[in-house]
Structures are given as structure tokens and as C-alpha cells.
Amino acid sequence: MNTGHKVRKFGIFAALPLAIFLVVLVLPFAQGFFLTFTNWNGFKYTEFAGIQNYTKSFQDDAFWTTLWFTLKFVIVSLVAVNVVAFGLALLVTAKLRSATILRTFFFVPNLIGGVVLGVIWQFIFNTALISISQRYSLPFFQESWLNETNTAFWALIIVTVWQSSGYMMIIYITGLISIEQDVLEAARVDGASAFRTLMAIKIPLMAQAFTISLFLTLRNGFMAYDVNVALTGGGPYRTTELISMHIFQDAFAFGNFGTGQSKAVLMFLMVATAALVQVSISKRLEVQR
């Protein structure tokens, strides 16, 4: 292949997509990182500010509230979504005649965008459940769960599990199906109980599915925005703001572009670290089997 041909091939196949990728993703990323070290106000900057934006971010009490809330949300949703999703996958692969219909039911919430989900569930928590529990005198939902920080947290978890467990279920189903029948047959002949088979054979043999699903739920947890905005809107009193929404508010509602972007850079570092740690741990477990 001569040079002219190489250049032409690059021009035809790669130049345009790479240029768009550069303009849309790489440049704003680099620019955003650079701007956190200036006194940028959203339009221009006049001088360098060192790490001032970062120190200011850490002095912001609301940011700490958000960080703890986000951390709690990421951990709880990670566990809840994966436990439920794995359970659903076992259920759907249990050779029921209704398996396909069940799978559809579990998956459908996933087709719907976070805002629509948020609005539906807001109606459920604020109106439907209250009216139902008053009618039948149930104790749990007399007051809207969205009015109080603690219950609003669980409302966010419920909706997140409802929305994303179906997707993770598909990943686990793929893992479960990929296990060879011979192995399961051998375990059955040896008289292994269903629980034993699950723990000693199925789970180790589908470790890759866990790696993927944990990675996705981790990332989704940190990046959750739509459901947060549409379900709690950060209320009451900004106590249920996840980091994504906090950054949005800081920059676009309060005009703090410098700290907003610094927090976004910190968020990126958190996601990247958490993802790397999780994937390397999971990979090690995968190899060990």
C-alpha cells in the first residue's frame, strides 16, 4: 500500500468520524479541564486562579451533602438492581411456559425515558398511593414519600430498580444460557442441591455477566439525572440532589461555572476510579474460577 492510498483510505473511512469525535468530546473535555484553573464565568476568563475552584467546591456544604447522598445511592442501587436482576433472570430461565411474557413485563420499564418514569412515579407516590392508603387505611403511604429525605431516597431506589433491573436481567440471562448443559447435568447426577449448583457452578461460570452488569449499574448510578430531576427534583431543600443534578444546578441555575465544572471533573475522576477498581476486582475473580 503506497502513501497516497493510505491517506485516501484514512480520508474516506476515518477522517470525518474522528473529526466529529474530536470536536464534540475531546476538545470540550480538555477545555473544561483547563477552565477549572481560571476565573472563568461561563463566557470568558481574565486570569488563572490555581486550584481555587476546587477548594471552593470542597467548602460548599451542599456539595458534601450531594457527595454522601450520591455515594449512598450508588452503593444501594448497585446492590439492589443486581440482586433483583439476577433473581429475575433465574426466574425467567426456570423453564416456565410464561417465561417470554414475564421477560417482556420485566424489560418494558427500560424502554421508557427517565423523565416519563419520574412523572409516572411522582403521580404514584404523591397521589395514587395516598388516595389508596387512605381509602383502605394502609399505614405506609399516608404521606408522600417524596416529602422527606429518607423516604425520598428509597423512592429513588425503587424507581431505579424498577427501571433498570430488566436490562441487567437480559445480561444475566445471556450468562445463564451460556453455561453448558453437561456441567449442570453432572452436578445433578452428583446430587448437588439447587442452591449448591447456583453458588458453586452457575455463578462462577457466568462471572463475566456480573462484571458487565456491575460496571453498568455503577456508571448509571453516578450518572443518574433524569429520574432525580423528574421524581424528587432534588427536594426537599436540595437534600436529594445526586451529583449530576447538583452540577447542573450549580452551573446553570446559580451561574457558578467555575465550581460547577470543577465538580464535574471530580465526578469524572470518581467514576473512572470506581470503574477501574470494580473491573479489575471482577476480572481477578473471573480468572480465579
Binding site: K6, F13, V24, V26, G32, A94, L102, G113, I124, F268
Partner: protein
């Protein structure tokens, strides 16, 4: 032994039924209340509507500008997804077939970029781009979707193309076919399973995306998710209308899913395992 298996099955079936009921309940509520006037909803959200009342739907359609929003969503999704298919399959072909340091590094950068959250880009994004171009148009949005989506799609294609033997393209090149012919006539048809995955994963994301259109678009160019946000704010007490609006907003994607169910499921599982 046999009867034990049967009881076990019955239990599994019961658990499955209860759970699936919990999963569809929110949709049932939306459906039931979309046909009711406000008073009936407040009285009992679980009751069957007294009559088939379409007023909520009419009003919701008007407020959401339903057909315009639907058209915008369809146009934006279809163009973005098609562009992503063409661009990323070609890019992946280039990166997988030219074994240079440049293509290796480029591929690594693409993969690494997938953990960059959109939130880390949106602020510079808005203030930088807004200075040069008017962002409020669908073309700009499509452009952004290509930029954000190209990494994952290229990654998916790359994995598949790497498994196709090089002999194939070499044989075609011997016969005098040029690069474009090799790609479109020989390679691309073989990529069909990945193309389905790429199409479905991206279509779901773009169709439902809220944050980016919220930053970029205004009223006339708004997409369906943006139009439903109306029901969150000022109309939040018009429950019936909101429910009708939500039903209208989710109907297209659910119908689409039910038609292409098999492709959806296999698309997601191949996409995830890669």
C-alpha cells in the same frame, strides 16, 4: 421427586406473577387514569374509568404539540442512528484493518472516552459552542449524538470485524475491488448482527435522551421526552392530562419494541457481552 418439582414450579410461577404484576402496575395506573376526569382520579386511582373519555388525550396532544414532537423525535433518532451506523462501521473497519500505531492509539482513546460522563462535558460544551453557532437546531443535535455515540458503536463493530479473516478483503482486492466496494459489498452485509445491536442501543438512548435536548432545543424543535416534561411542572395537577400525555409518549417505543422484540433482546445481550 416429581411432585416436588411440580410444587417448586408452582411457587416459581406464583412469584413470577406477583413480580410481573408489580412491574406493570405503574402502566396500568397510567392507562386507567388517562381516561378519567380529575375528580375520579383523586377519589380512587384504581377504579375502572366510568366512560371512555378522550378529552384528556385531546388536551394533552395539543399541549405537547404531539405530532410535531413525535416528528422531531423520529427525525433526530433516525438520522443520528443511520449516521452512527455508517460512520462507526467505516471507522471500525479502518482501525481494525490498518495495523499501525496510530490506529491502536486511536482505538484506545475511543474506548477510554466511554467512561467520560456527559456531565463533565456539558458546561464547556454549552459555553464554547454557543459562542460560535446557534445550537437550537436539530442538525446540531444530530452532530452531537454522532460525537458522543461513535466510541461505543465503533467498539462494537471493531470486536466483530477483528474476527473476520483478512484473506477475505485481500482476495477481493486481488480481484480489483477498491476499498469502498470491499467494505460496502463484502464487509458491511456480514456485520448485520452488530448493526442491529448498534441501531437498537443507540436508538433507545437517543429516543429517550433528555439532558442534551434540554440544553440545546427549544419549543419548536422539542422532542417527545421534552414535551412530557411539561406535565411535571405547571400542569402537575392536571393528572388526567398528564397520564394521557405519558401514554402517548411511551406508546411509539413500546409498539416498536413489541414488533422487534427478538432483535431487541439479542441486540442487548450481544452489545453487553462485547
Amino acid at each position: 421427586m416429581k411432585s416436588q418439582g411440580r410444587t417448586f414450579r408452582k411457587i416459581v410461577f406464583a412469584v413470577g406473577s406477583v413480580l410481573s404484576f408489580a412491574y406493570v402496575m405503574p402502566f396500568v395506573l397510567v392507562f386507567l387514569n388517562a381516561f378519567k376526569p380529575k375528580f375520579d382520579i383523586l377519589e380512587n386511582p384504581l377504579s375502572w374509568p366510568k366512560q371512555l373519555d378522550w378529552t384528556n388525550f385531546q388536551q394533552a396532544m395539543e399541549k405537547m404539540n404531539f405530532f410535531r414532537s413525535l416528528t422531531n423525535s423520529v427525525i433526530i433518532t433516525v438520522i443520528s442512528v443511520s449516521a452512527l451506523i455508517v460512520f462507526s462501521s467505516m471507522l471500525a473497519f479502518y482501525l481494525a484493518r490498518t495495523k499501525t500505531k496510530f490506529s491502536k492509539v486511536t482505538f484506545l482513546i475511543l474506548v477510554a472516552s466511554m467512561i467520560v460522563p456527559f456531565q463533565a462535558l456539558m458546561i464547556p460544551f454549552m459555553s464554547i459552542f454557543a459562542q460560535f453557532v446557534s445550537l437550537n437546531n436539530r442538525a446540531a443535535l444530530v452532530f452531537f449524538y454522532i460525537g458522543f455515540g461513535v466510541a461505543l458503536s465503533t467498539f462494537l463493530y471493531h470486536g466483530f470485524i477483528s474476527k473476520i479473516p483478512m484473506d477475505l478483503d485481500e482476495a477481493a482486492a486481488m480481484d480489483g475491488a477498491n476499498d469502498l466496494t470491499i467494505f460496502w459489498k463484502i464487509m458491511f452485509p456480514m456485520l448485520r448482527p452488530v448493526t442491529a445491536t448498534v441501531a437498537i442501543v443507540n436508538a433507545l438512548w437517543i429516543w429517550n435522551d433528555f439532558l442534551l435536548p434540554r440544553l440545546v432545543l427549544t419549543q419548536e424543535t422539542q422532542t417527545l421526552p421534552l414535551s412530557t416534561y411539561l406535565f411535571y411542572g405547571q400542569y402537575s395537577t392536571e393528572y388526567g392530562q398528564a397520564m394521557a400525555g405519558l401514554l402517548l409518549a411511551v406508546l411509539p417505543i413500546i409498539v416498536f419494541y413489541l414488533i422487534l422484540q427478538r432483535q431487541f433482546i439479542s441486540g442487548i445481550s450481544t452489545g453487553a457481552v462485547k
